[in-house]
């Protein structure tokens, strides 16, 4: 809890001590939550009889308020222009293909900054297949059998484009497998740069190249796209329902089946 005096400081905090002998540094530790409960109790007891220490503590609180109230600096015009120019020169986000080069130029963004190399993330997911599948089973539940499903109004598909979107509940996804396996209709995700991002959010590894069928559905009164994918290293099929904003949140539901 010692501080290193800085000759550039107009005042060295280590030299500031209350009339009762409490150092500004000790009070700063208290304010920052660095003291143990015992240390804090002891210090507060000393402060109670030391108005000067209380005033010093108030000074620290004032400092925090001043910091919180600091004004932003206006962005200079030339800086704003160069940012706009750089962004205008950028292509659309590279999200559509698994084989893209996602390596950023310059220093590698840190993962804790939430900039993720999706390929690397997928490689990690592949290594975690068993655990991820188990997690999906726990969260969503495996439907072992396939119920017969006849969506009302459906006259049967005639090609890759699905007909009416069947309405189902999350527990009934498996019943759509016979239908979805015959289509390749990604609905609102067709040609969308969101697709890869949406797939990456599934609890198991869901890759575009593993898609074996897709169909727009209505899941619990919400528009969705049901995507069927092969589960790597297994004979199972993952049926995953994605919402229109699936790039911003996890899938609506997922079911694993043994076709």
């Amino acid at each position: 809890m010692t501080s290193c005096p800085d000759p550039r400081d107009p005042a060295d905090p280590g030299s500031i001590v209350s009339a009762g002998g409490i150092a500004l540094d000790e009070l700063a530790d208290l304010q920052a939550g660095l003291l143990t409960p015992d240390q804090e109790s002891a210090l507060r007891a000393r402060m109670a009889g030391d108005p000067d220490a209380l005033a010093l503590y108030g000074l620290l609180e004032q400092t925090r308020l001043e910091l919180a109230d600091l004004d932003d600096e206006p962005v200079p015009d030339d800086v704003a222009e160069r940012i706009d120019t750089a962004l205008a020169a950028e292509p659309a986000p590279q999200l559509e293909h698994d084989d893209r080069d996602a390596t950023p130029t310059g220093p590698e963004p840190a993962t804790d900054a939430r900039i993720v190399d999706l390929d690397a993330a997928r490689r990690r997911r592949r290594r975690l297949v068993p655990a991820l599948i188990a997690a999906a089973v726990v969260v969503i539940g495996i439907v072992g059998g396939i119920a017969v499903f006849r969506p009302a109004g459906s006259t049967g598909p005639t090609g890759l484009q699905a007909g009416n979107a069947p309405a189902v509940g999350a527990q009934d996804l498996a019943s759509l497998w016979p239908e979805v396996s015959r289509y390749r209709d990604l609905g609102f995700l067709t040609g969308s740069p969101r697709l890869a991002s949406c797939l990456s959010r599934a609890p198991g590894p869901v890759l575009e190249r593993d898609i074996v069928g897709a169909q727009p559905i209505v899941l619990d009164d919400q528009d969705a796209v049901l995507v069927a994918t092969r589960v790597p290293m297994s004979q199972q099929i993952a049926l995953t329902a994605f919402a229109p904003d699936c790039n911003l949140r996890p899938p609506l539901a997922q079911t694993l089946i043994d076709p």
């Binding site: 920052a32 660095l34 000074l59 109230d69 600091l70 800086v79 962004l87 310059g106 740069p193």
Partner: protein, 206 residues
């Protein structure tokens, strides 16, 4: 968490009422203007952070440009468990830290010419006001003293006290422990408080 936004800076036109997340989603869906709107919404706050961190106008401009390009390029990797503005703050912070590391072991500039506009302005104003009135504005003192804090203390204080990130978020962003964040904040605040006392701004009865 509420973050200070565009304080002091002229309000930039933002007629778009979409949320940050909606703008990011629109950007991913191909809306060419959405990301620019997002940038304009947050750039003053992040510019200020970069400038105060690096104390070099050109480096701060480079950092901000680099960070926004990265965010644009990898927007699809945004995870909805964080606010968009905090996600942007983290990206800018990482770029700023890379720049600080790259220029070590050089030390904190001692002369005002080596410091950035914000620091130079703050210190000059503080001295001038002090000479003229015998009392300085507390904000100017704090702003000026921020510029001469050690990098580690300044980073912790800028993220926790100025940007409004939690101690845990700051620890995560800086890659250090929660205790270290608290300690750096404590040391930095003590120096700033001491400066307020020295310039007569501290409300310390004597």
């Amino acid at each position: 968490m509420t973050l200070p936004r565009e304080q002091g800076a002229p309000a930039e036109p933002s007629p778009d009422q979409r949320s940050d997340r909606e703008l990011l989603a629109a950007h991913l869906a191909g809306d060419r203007d959405a990301f620019t709107l997002l940038v304009r919404r947050h750039r003053a706050r992040l510019w200020t952070y970069a400038l105060r961190s690096l104390r070099d106008r050109e480096e701060a401009a480079e950092a901000l440009q680099d960070a926004f390009v990265r965010a644009h390029r990898y927007a699809g990797s945004y995870r909805a468990d964080a606010e968009v503005e905090n996600w942007l703050t983290r990206i800018v912070t990482r770029v700023v830290l890379d720049k600080i590391k790259a220029r070590r072991p050089s030390t904190v500039p001692l002369d005002e010419d080596a410091a950035g506009d914000g620091a130079r302005e703050g210190r000059a104003d503080a001295v001038e006001t002090s000479d003229a009135h015998g009392e300085v504005d507390a904000q100017l003192t704090v702003k000026a003293m921020l510029a001469v804090l050690p990098d580690e203390q300044r980073q912790a204080i800028l993220l926790v006290d100025v940007q409004g990130l939690s101690v845990a978020e700051t620890a995560d962003t800086l890659g250090i422990s929660v205790g270290t964040v608290k300690s750096r904040c404590a040391r930095g605040r003590a120096r700033l408080a001491a400066a307020l006392t020295a310039t007569g701004q501290g409300r310390r009865p004597r």
